[in-house]
């Protein structure tokens, strides 16, 4: 293995400014491991030449996207972290039903390949079909490549084995040769679009639920605060913010399972 090349510094600065993701100096092995394949794919003579073209000023958008996708962690599963979904199922969704609401608006921020918003859409359909049909789920991520997969809604056997009960698989998926695809009736309830959590422009307005899980861990404290403020300003009065199991928020009153009611 080689020492940290200057190219690694360029990639770190690029990822930091483009999406807030902090990469450590000693993670330079990721340069070859993650960007080596891209350098070959885009026919650059070396990783360094690729980095110069992709992360420098006036770089091509498609190269920048490829770097963002390769350098971010997309690991996710259906119904990730049971307690989070249990609180949603047993407390939050029933409270919407009894409040007389007709529908809700949800933002799944940093949705990766879509398992999180699809889990929510399935749960809503099971617990509150009338509300689910009228509700809106907005799902965003900074990685266009993850979003493409999310939009497609096709998952492998290994992916559906994680977190999805057979009851839900049978009810909400159709089978293709090598994969399972979320049925159109559920897919069409989610609007997928690109969004950078660090963007200076506000996120979706008036959301009853905003979830942003397992991404702020990659950010520094300043960016984390900034993102939390942006998320909070998307929550309507009486709404809730949901974070990952290991992430704490100072943004409100804890409701359990990673859910907070903003003060």
């Amino acid at each position: 293995m080689r020492d940290a090349s200057p190219a690694w510094g360029v990639v770190r600065a690029f990822m930091r400014s483009r999406c807030g993701v902090m990469l450590a100096e000693d993670q330079h092995y990721l340069l070859d491991a993650r960007l080596g394949p891209l350098a070959r794919e885009f026919r650059f003579p070396s990783v360094e030449a690729f980095v110069a073209a992709a992360c420098g000023p006036s770089s091509e958008e498609r190269l920048r996207r490829a770097v963002v996708d390769a350098m971010t962690t997309h690991e996710t599963t259906f119904f990730r972290d049971r307690p989070f979904w249990k609180v949603l199922e047993e407390v939050i969704i029933p409270s919407f039903k009894t409040s007389g609401k007709r529908a809700i608006r949800v933002w799944s921020a940093a949705c990766s390949t879509g398992q999180e918003p699809y889990s929510l859409a399935m749960l809503l359909e099971e617990l509150w079909p009338a509300g689910a049909a009228a509700s809106e789920i907005i799902a965003t991520d900074v990685s266009e490549i993850a979003l493409d997969k999310a939009r497609e809604g096709s998952f492998t056997q290994l992916e559906v084995n994680r977190g999805l009960s057979t009851g839900k698989l049978v009810r909400f998926f159709e089978q293709n040769t090598l994969s399972y695809r979320v049925k159109e009736s559920i897919r069409k309830r989610i609007t997928f679009k690109a969004d950078n959590l660090l963007s200076p422009t506000p996120g979706p307005k008036d959301c009853d639920l905003v979830m942003c899980r397992n991404v702020l861990i990659y950010f520094d404290e300043n960016d984390r605060q900034q993102v939390q403020r942006r998320l909070r300003s998307s929550v309507i009065t009486g709404g809730q913010l949901g974070f990952g199991a290991t992430e704490m928020s100072s943004q409100g009153v804890p409701m359990g399972g990673g859910w907070y009611r903003p003060r």
Partner: protein, 121 residues
């Protein structure tokens, strides 16, 4: 908590036994459906049956049907693990009485998650 692992492959019995033991289970094993019924008859308690689908003598489908009529174990959770693929296979196993179905390939993590789900239900 005690589980009965049913598989005609000795290697898989061992693999599944290890996976469950690592998650805190005490594990008995049986080599086919008939052996499983014999063992269940003799077991004072059993909290989970994890069975393969295709086995000689008595397969997993027949085993679940028998379990659902067993005087003591009619309501024990049964997890069917199988190399069968597809939604119709799942429906067949559920119709026979399986609580959940897990299709190969799966990771140890997925297996343990599913076991926890069926036993906490």
């Amino acid at each position: 908590m005690i589980a009965l692992v049913v598989d005609d492959s000795m290697a898989l019995r061992l693999v599944h036994k290890r996976m469950l033991e690592a998650a805190g289970w005490e594990v008995r094993t049986a080599k086919d459906g008939e052996d499983a019924i014999t063992q269940l008859d003799a077991m004072p308690v059993c909290h989970l049956v994890m069975t393969d689908w295709h086995m000689p003598v008595m397969d997993g489908i027949e085993l679940v049907k028998r379990i659902r009529q067993h005087p003591r174990y009619a309501s024990v959770p049964v997890l069917m693990v199988t190399s069968e693929a597809g939604l119709s296979a799942i429906q067949e196993a559920i119709a026979a009485g399986a609580t959940e179905v897990l299709m190969k390939p799966y990771t140890a993590e997925a297996l343990v998650e599913r076991v926890e789900e069926v036993t906490h239900a």
